[in-house]
């Protein structure tokens, strides 16, 4: 230990950072304290990054000649990487949030993999334990890096269709086995001191190449609708990789932050998969689109189209309305108009609440964010378990751009692919209005029995256009009443 003071300062800064991360995440657990939570965590990050420049006082002799260049490179990398990502994060549309998170996650995973590469190339990880941990972190980091990039490409629409080939599972398993074999051989060479069959740098390159390929192959066959779960898993993976590399670098702040995210990401993934009524393994290893189409019993009843203005006026005279928004609302950019309509209803004394399904949107909770963006107060937004019993005593359920999450088949039809999925009981309301672009099916590709129910009327059209008609109709009413 050449200089004790920088070491102590770095240690103290990292301890402070770890505390601030945990405290910040804790504060993020309630909408009231959440904004300050991310701020607290941000301070922790700043402290840790600034303190890490104290490493310049403690570099090894080998790195001394490079030090000035390295510091310059570090500042440049921080400025470019941080600056570009900050700008992108500030300007991205809220609907594009899932792919942005995928992209940032890919970056973190890439960084973890790169650190492992530096350790491996620099031979800085002596001992079997550290070599194994480095390789494990490298594997997880590389898989999460390339996998997240594919997830981003899918959500962004760069890759349109899931790519599936025959024997994909076997191919993936072979690639993974090959990666592990190369890694195992590297540990064997490192431990026994035997001369490797091919030079070590080539082995390292091969290892990373295989791991990256596995990340790509693993993510390509998964459909776009399942991407939220995939991003969440990769988020947990990246946390794990960061934690493992933290051990290699002997940095407890990285270990703690990484492992906290690993566990949190795992829990979020499980919650999400449960809301979609699927196991995580099912998402990763089977293809939703490939579910054999069940021959469905013919729907009884008929679709009853109704005019948007009539539906709007009916809601004006209802005592209570529950709105079930889905991704179709966001696609039509109708959130602002929806809240405008809600405010008009509220002014007329109608009790209005929002019922949000856990997987509404392209990411769990994304619909909450989109509604918040439109200005909807969070105390009007209710989650499935808190509001489901209220539908039975509600006059009108307004379903906008949602389909599968209100399909009663999930409760009743054992043959349905979505059977068992928790749904919003919109069909229990006295009247149901469904705003829909056309007669198409939802993601699950199945008919929705709700639409054929006697108490259900269909309002066809783009969500935003329909809402404008509803607003006009109710406004016109108010004017007439006043006159």
């Amino acid at each position: 230990m050449p200089l004790l003071v920088p070491q102590l300062a770095i240690g103290a800064a990292d301890l402070a950072a770890a505390f601030l991360f945990l405290f910040g995440l804790k504060r993020m657990s309630s909408p009231v304290t959440a904004p300050s939570g991310i701020f607290v965590a941000g301070i922790g990050m700043l402290v840790a990054v600034l303190a890490s420049f104290l490493y310049v006082f403690a570099v090894g002799d080998a790195a001394k000649p490079y030090l000035m260049v390295n510091v310059g490179l570090a500042v440049t990398a921080l400025a470019i990487g941080g600056g570009l990502a900050w700008w992108a994060g500030r300007t991205v549309a809220m609907t594009a949030m899932p792919q942005m998170v995928a992209l940032y996650n890919s970056m973190g995973a890439g960084a973890a993999g790169a650190i492992a590469a530096v350790e491996l190339f620099g031979n800085a990880a002596p001992g079997a334990t550290r070599l194994v941990v480095t390789l494990l972190g490298a594997l997880i980091g590389a898989v999460s890096f390339s996998g997240s990039l594919i997830a981003w490409a899918k959500l962004q629409g760069v890759i349109k269709k899931p790519l599936r080939v025959k024997g994909q599972q076997i191919l993936n398993a072979l690639v993974l086995a090959a990666t592990l074999a190369v890694g195992g051989y590297m540990v064997f060479v490192g431990e026994s001191g035997a001369a490797p069959l091919i030079p070590m740098p080539h082995l390292i390159g091969l290892f990373f190449g295989l791991a990256l390929a596995f990340g790509i192959l693993m993510t390509l066959p998964i459909g776009g609708a399942d991407m939220p779960v995939v991003i969440s898993i990769f988020n947990a993976f990246t946390g794990l990789a960061v934690g493992l590399e933290g051990f290699v670098l002997q940095n407890p702040a990285l270990m703690i932050a990484g492992m906290v995210v690993g566990a949190a990401g795992l829990l979020l993934t499980l919650i999400m998969a449960k809301a979609m009524n699927r196991s995580v393994a099912n998402v990763l290893f089977t293809n939703f689109g490939a579910v054999p189409k069940q021959t469905q019993g013919a729907m009884t009843g008929s679709l009853k189209p109704v005019d948007a203005a009539d539906a709007g006026i009916a809601m004006r005279y209802a005592a209570s309305v529950i709105i079930v928004p889905g991704y179709g609302l966001a696609v039509a950019q109708g959130q602002q108009k929806l809240y405008e309509f809600v405010k008009i209803l509220q002014a007329a004394g109608v009790s209005v609440r929002f019922a949000v399904h856990p997987v509404a949107g392209r990411m769990p909770g994304q619909m909450d964010v989109l509604l918040a963006e439109a200005g909807v107060p969070y105390d009007l937004i209710f989650q499935l378990e808190d509001i489901n019993d209220a539908f039975a005593t509600t006059d009108v359920a307004l379903v906008i751009g949602a389909n599968d999450v209100v399909n009663p088949a999930a409760r009743t039809d054992k043959l349905s692919p979505i059977f068992g999925m928790p749904i919003l009981n919109a069909d229990k309301a006295k009247t149901v209005y469904v705003v829909k672009r056309g007669q198409g099916k939802g993601y699950a590709g199945i008919q929705n029995a709700l639409f054929y129910d006697d108490n259900c009327d269909m309002v066809y059209g783009d969500a935003q256009a329909v809402l404008i008609k509803m607003i006009e109709a109710v406004r016109g009413l108010g004017f007439a009443a006043a006159a």
Binding site: L22, L25, P35, S52, L78, Y104, G239, L268
Partner: protein, 104 residues
């Protein structure tokens, strides 16, 4: 300070438990900001990247270290920016409109 074997496992275990408990109590409304927030937290990897870059002693190590800091900084800065933006949008009802829920 050397963190070896079981000490490392203790740190991992306690950290994993903390993460599980903290997230387990978050309402579904915050799941997206939280995923983004935890995404930000693993941006701490930039510190590891800085360590690797500052200790680099060959052009290859410098190149990979530069990449690590670039990516890590992107993760941290971008993660903060989007999380902060999302959380700033969550607001409660202004003058008690929830109380205006008329008789059902």
């Amino acid at each position: 300070m050397a963190i070896t074997g079981f000490v490392a496992l203790y740190i991992f275990m306690l950290a994993a438990f903390a993460g599980w408990v903290i997230i387990g109590r978050v309402p579904a409304i915050l799941h997206t900001p939280l995923m983004s927030g935890s995404n930000f937290v693993h941006g701490i990897v930039v510190v590891g990247g800085l360590f690797a870059l500052l200790n680099a002693s060959s052009v290859l190590e410098q190149a990979i270290g530069f990449f690590a800091v670039l990516m890590g900084a992107g993760n941290a800065a971008g993660g903060y920016a989007v999380t902060d933006r999302m959380l700033a949008m969550f607001k409660p009802s202004a003058p008690a409109p929830i109380a205006s829920q008329k008789k059902s």
